[in-house]
Symmetry: D2
Subunit: 310 residues, 4 copies
């Protein structure tokens, strides 16, 4: 049930539902989990950046993981990024004991050289212990840390518990190919799941990615893309992808994306509220109209986008 | 013929054609200018970042401007960004004397506070003199300088010669609306032309932008978008835009985009070579195949994308 | 007892003492507090960056504040910077109830424009409520957020509970003068306490700063500087400062400074161990020799630097 | 006469003297060169950042190099950093033909990973050809490029024409030791000359640096430090260094330093004017008073700081 180097499919990055007053909305959280299961995802990822994890108190974070694990039998990856290795280890062991499938660790934004990156992950993995499978989050636009294929090779060689790469470099297609070529030459395999809201998922899968780990408001599209691509139905995959691309692009705007995602999930009836914890962001009237317009256009091509009027 | 606050339409950012050995390819440059004219653009912009201007010697830059101005009657904006105001002024006066329609100035990446940004443009405009119309390039992803609507208001108030905004903030839709609302409340008007490869041009025009100033490899699409949107044919505009979006997205990857653009222009028969001056970037075999695939799919919806086999 | 706009003197930034295994060392913490009191500081600041606050669990943070407040009657400022306003408010109210004199809030590194900075502090102060006096931490080298005098003016005008500035801009002398000039013209007064390890404290005090808030390993020097400067003994102040400057400069190296500080405090018999929580940094043999050498030279001029051999 | 891996001593970074109207001041330039020779420097470095090189037109740059080479027999390193390899090669060959001792190349601020840095210097050296000795400028605070000892090892191994390191990392002492340890284990030797205004020159020389390449307004101090340290007079070296440290620290403020340097050189009678080309920076009245005060204090310990009243 733990993630490993052969994990495939779609791990949905789950947003944390809040009531308008900022309290965690557990009813919406349970509804969200059920929705993901019905959408056909392979697993879930909670307590990431897009789950507003840094704004949660420690006990709230654990309560959310508990709720998710009680509600679903899907494998769940938990974000445990923390400034201190002690805090990271404590959280990781608590969630693994509760039944998590693995943990995700992002690099601190102070790392600059290859050696610093390698040292950081070596020490983090040592602090977590050999029994906690790790997903390395590679997201330079947000963390300002650039992880080259060479660095990944070295980490793979020295840190056996790192089994998965959450790939969100941009541009990132050549990186997938570079990693797969190194694996063809003998390097230990990594599961590669792609983020960035799915903006390049069409080609990422063709380059050798194993699936997606992102939070696009139509996870069904991510699931379809993995299925269609892996069964060789290339044109069908691109046709469906292109229908979603105008919305994917809109949702992928930095700083705005989570508000778009929560708004669509509210319109789809999954979340009661699109509220973020403060400091947060809500859509302007212009933005809501644009998202509604994109949903309307999408609905002509994908019936799952037919949502009740706002 | 000079740019002003009412300038509208499409100013194509022209790449600089090079031979494989790095020499400027004047024949391709002339062909490129003729192509832009036939595509219906309103004007041209040369010597920008995407024109590889920083890699040109001073005399080469002037020769390119001269060739362009001799070949076309369209208004031409010239990038004159330079670390020293003296160099900036010299280049600006030379190109204005040669017949340029205005100049473009990007902020140095050392500016941080609002006051520093305002002071920089105030001094730059003073150095250029009152008769040189300026386009302010607002491109935070590349320059790390964030220019808020409030700063634009203050610049507009104190620097009359700044008449145009090359808008490439991301996300940037709310900024267009904010500027237009301030203008509705009495602020002096700016021409707003949008960049970022056109990735949000569909909504940017609806928000009040006057057009595009970018280098997408199908400038015809940009021209169509301005025409269709300004005549209220919203669905037609979005249908056409969505057909191009997969390629727009691919071309807009930072660091890779110019190689995609030149490759497509080579395949369209406009450039003899896709070469960049060193240090540059060329497409991998994988990337070329992906661009070819996108061109093939686009050709089903837009006959202008039917290009001879590579 | 609360900090206010007239607070003066030295608020020592207290490091958090750890045992070599990473556990908080409460005995050293109590010894450290007694040492600060005997050194003549005006107040203490705990849970800042240099207190390794981000590596502490929530309950550990509160336990440290409790220990400090039980041990001393000096005013104590507590760092409460957190990604969410809810967490920030909860921690702030807990420590204020326990008897803290105020809280310190650093800006998130995502803020770029003046308006974003002003909005952030307005909302943070609103979340904390009007009864929590706030010290604004202005440390661009670490946070990548530039706060201009104009922004400070606007914050001062709209956020009454911000009463103190922890000034660590670099260069920063002109900023102090600019703020004091605005105050001479009618702006509400701020207490300005300077950081950066004291590297410019000699002139900062002459420019109008009210004291220091930093963690230099000889807080006695900071206390002396405030006393000598405020009593007009300029040359004496500079003579003493210059004797310490070689060590101040050495301690102020980014990423290395805390290790130097803890090492000297260990050599002075204040801390049992120089250990940092992982990931941390310890001095190399070369660095220890250099610090020892600087201590030896300093001891010729300031007897307080005479420490037992390592 | 060319720089090589055994180059030692002080290469003074020469500022470019300007008249208040922005024209190059050739008379001051010649006086400056004579001053450096009389101060005992080993060589000169021109057209660096602190020489305001980016604000010079191409022909002005060459004229400055010509003036310097005609006036002195000292080896002269010329900054040739440029966005394009073609421009870089042209300038390098012109100045080498004129008699320069080598060239200095800084990394573009877009480099992030170790591999990118190595590739950049490999290609730059290839463009310059095997006969142009290169000094690699390692200045992360200004260029945002971090070059680790491992990267330097790899560059040293593959690029024979890189013979010198301008070391301005901060902190940077451990890096010198790391490089020298690798050399003790067989790596090809590099000349290491230290920058950063000399702020750590006391220990840098003890760690194994070969000298200084920086522009401190008293190059005599840099010369003395190399002489005293290499002859084992450690305490004398530190005594003299410590007397200068208050001014060194003041001059080393980013963005302000060049104005301090030119102001002191004007007061010393070397430059007719402290003017910088626009956009530049001049000292405030407060800053001038502080520098005057520091000069007065320094003059008690070092008679060379006795300058006529301003």
């Amino acid at each position: 049930m733990a993630i490993d180097a052969d994990s495939r499919g779609v791990f949905a990055i789950a947003p944390t539902p809040f009531h308008p007053d900022g309290a965690v909305d557990s009813a919406s959280l349970r509804r969200l989990i059920d929705f993901y299961a019905s959408a056909g995802v392979t697993g879930l990822t909670v307590l990431g950046q897009m789950g507003e994890a840094p704004k949660l108190a420690a006990e709230e974070s654990l309560a959310i993981v508990r709720t998710v694990l009680e509600r679903t039998a899907l494998p769940v990856v938990v974000g445990v990024t923390a400034p201190g290795f002690g805090t990271m280890r404590t959280l990781a062991h608590e969630v693994m004991t509760m039944g998590a499938a693995g943990v995700m660790v992002a690099p601190p934004n102070t790392l600059r050289t290859d050696d610093q990156i390698i040292a950081y992950y070596t020490q983090a993995a040592e602090a977590l212990g050999p029994d906690v499978p790790i997903c390395l989050q590679d997201y330079p636009l947000s963390f300002s840390v650039q992880i080259s294929p060479r660095v990944i090779s070295q980490i793979v060689e020295t840190v056996p518990s790192i089994v998965m790469l959450k790939h969100e470099d941009w541009p990132g297609l050549e990186k997938i190919t570079a990693i797969r070529e190194r694996e063809a030459a003998g390097q230990r395999r990594l599961s590669i799941l792609c983020g960035n809201g799915g903006l390049f998922l069409d080609f990422e899968l063709e380059r050798g990615a194993d699936g997606a780990m992102t939070g696009y408001c139509f996870p069904e599209l991510l699931v379809d893309m993995v299925r269609l691509t892996s069964s060789g139905r290339r044109d069908e995959a691109h046709d469906l992808f292109d229908a979603h691309l105008p919305l994917i692009r809109y949702e992928q705007q930095p700083g705005t994306g989570l508000a778009v995602r929560k708004y669509v999930m509210q319109r789809r009836g999954i979340l009661d509220s699109a509220a973020q914890r403060r400091p947060g962001r809500e859509l302007s009237k212009w933005e809501r109209d644009e998202v509604d317009f994109l949903l309307g256009r999408l609905a002509r091509r994908d019936t799952r986008a037919r949502v009740p009027n706002p």
